[in-house]
């Protein structure tokens, strides 16, 4: 469980996070959203102890982050950074992915087994002996992801995973993230990609200027246009469509394109039946 209690964080004289309190239960799927500069990255850096609270506390599985090292917290909370090029340094993809488990002191045989497994899962087996610097942008992002997931942390936090990804890559990422969560892991994504969140269907926490604006199921939060705009985000296109057709009886909380399709078809059918 990740508990954030009355967290205040200041840097260089500025308070970046004000009185943030969140509880993320095991196995939950959360999206932390807000504009650039809202404090999202600062918040998640508290989850593995990279930053310690100025006031308040952060507890991972009941233990305060002030009492554990980053290395030890990283075994429980896997934090995947935005830019894979800030991590890659090894001669081969295999070495790169094995890095964290070697730091944690796992036996070589376990490492070999787990690296092989995660490379297969992420479609990177053919690159095991390739230099990570030779791979394309999307592939490097997968290597970075693999290098955190290899140790199978209970909680996974992804910072802006969709940046620079094309449509198909985002599809695959969405499926992968959802699968990780279905398998029981806590998944937290930090993002401002509203359409991506609609497809993932997590619980949403809206952050703006260092404070929590709102939290709740994604469809409740993202269909509230005012709230979304206050967080400097753009509401999902389908939501805006349904909202402007509210007077015809459409539910403005529909955000998914397939649900919208069904709603419109139902309406057109009922029109036909009325005329009959």
């Amino acid at each position: 469980m990740i508990e954030v209690k009355n967290l205040h964080f200041s840097y260089d004289g500025n308070e970046v996070l004000h009185n943030v309190s969140i509880t993320i239960h095991d196995g939950e799927f959360i999206a932390i959203m807000g504009e650039n500069g809202a404090g999202k990255t600062t918040l998640i850096k508290h989850f593995n102890g990279l930053l310690k609270p100025s006031k308040g506390e952060v507890l991972i599985d009941g233990v305060s982050t002030r009492e554990e090292t980053v290395a030890s917290l990283s075994r429980k909370v896997g934090l995947v950074f935005q830019n894979p090029d800030h991590q890659l340094f090894s001669e081969t993809v295999f070495q790169e992915v094995a890095f964290s488990m070697r730091n944690y002191g796992y036996p070589e045989e376990t490492i070999r087994r787990r690296v092989k497994f995660i490379l297969e899962t992420l479609d990177l087996s053919s690159y095991a002996d390739t230099s990570p610097f030779m791979l394309s942008g999307g592939e490097r992002k997968r290597v970075a992801l693999a290098s955190i997931l290899v140790s199978d942390p209970k909680h996974i936090v992804l910072d802006e995973p969709t940046i620079g990804q094309d449509h198909q890559q985002k599809e695959k990422l969405k499926n992968f993230i959802v699968q990780m969560n279905t398998q029981g892991r806590t998944v937290v994504i930090v993002t401002h990609d509203v359409e991506f969140v609609v497809e993932c269907r997590p619980k949403v926490i809206l952050l703006s200027k260092g404070s929590i604006l709102a939290e709740g199921p994604y469809d409740e939060i993202l269909s509230d246009e005012d709230l979304v705009r206050r967080a400097s985000l753009i509401p999902p296109q389908i939501g805006l469509l349904m909202s402007s057709l509210k007077d015809l009886g459409f539910n403005p909380a529909i955000l998914d394109v397939y649900q919208a399709k069904s709603a419109i078809e139902r309406r057109l059918l009922s029109n036909v039946s009325k005329t009959l």
Binding site: D166, H192, V272
Partner: protein, 293 residues
Amino acid sequence: MSKILDVTRELIVIKAQGLTFTYSGSKKPAIENLNLEVEEGEFIVITGPSGCGKTTFARCLNALIPSFYRGEMKGSISVLGIDISKSTTSQLSKYVGFVFQNPENQLFSLSVERDVAFGPENLGLPREEVRRRVEWAMKVTGITHLRHAAPYELSGGQQQRVAIASVLAMKPKIIVLDEPTSFLDPLSAHQIVETVSNLRREMEITIILIEHRLDLASRYADRVIIMDRGRIILEGPPSKVYGEHAEAIGVGIPKISLLFNLLKRDGYDLGCTPVTLEEATQTIRRRILDDRS
């Protein structure tokens, strides 16, 4: 958005014929047999899956290919009548401005003003002319109040506006933007695309925008070009291009366009593929109300 005055827009500013380019050290061409003509003042959006060759094509427009990126070029490409294969980026910089994906790495100065002045200074223009252009470019992009700010302290959206201003100060005829919104949040992304569209409208500058965020860019585009594996697969006004084929290639067409495609496949043809929210809303409303009567 339809072309209103076809008659005045007949000048071809970009002409590619059979354009093929293979980066040196690569076995396969990054772009293959591209044929394209762009008229003056057009707003072109180029999109496609990663690796489809859109950036490669963009680099040809201001001669980064072949003067900065070595390789083998076949076919031809001319910009404003200039043969690219025989030119350098410096020569093209007067006519073609380039805005890059990463906001921070294209700005280098410690004040916005100096960054914007950099281009015209390099052209050897006298100080008064440089000053005039800097003031104008900052006004048009709405960053005059940031003139003394240090670019690296600005937000991504502000940085991209500085980048656009610094390119604009060279008074180019064509501006190429390679995924300028990648690192920006949705609101800033929206503002950038709007700024660019205003440039086109007010100054008849031809815009080539490479984008994944089609929901933002489509409303301004005269034509959308979809590339895949180095070739142009689809080309035309967005409403014609956002069909099943585009979906199959794996392009992220706007959700409202997808909605209408899905409805059509289920037998509910609403008669068009909308590109803007207003179009979609009006079409659905009309259909439902018409049906009733």
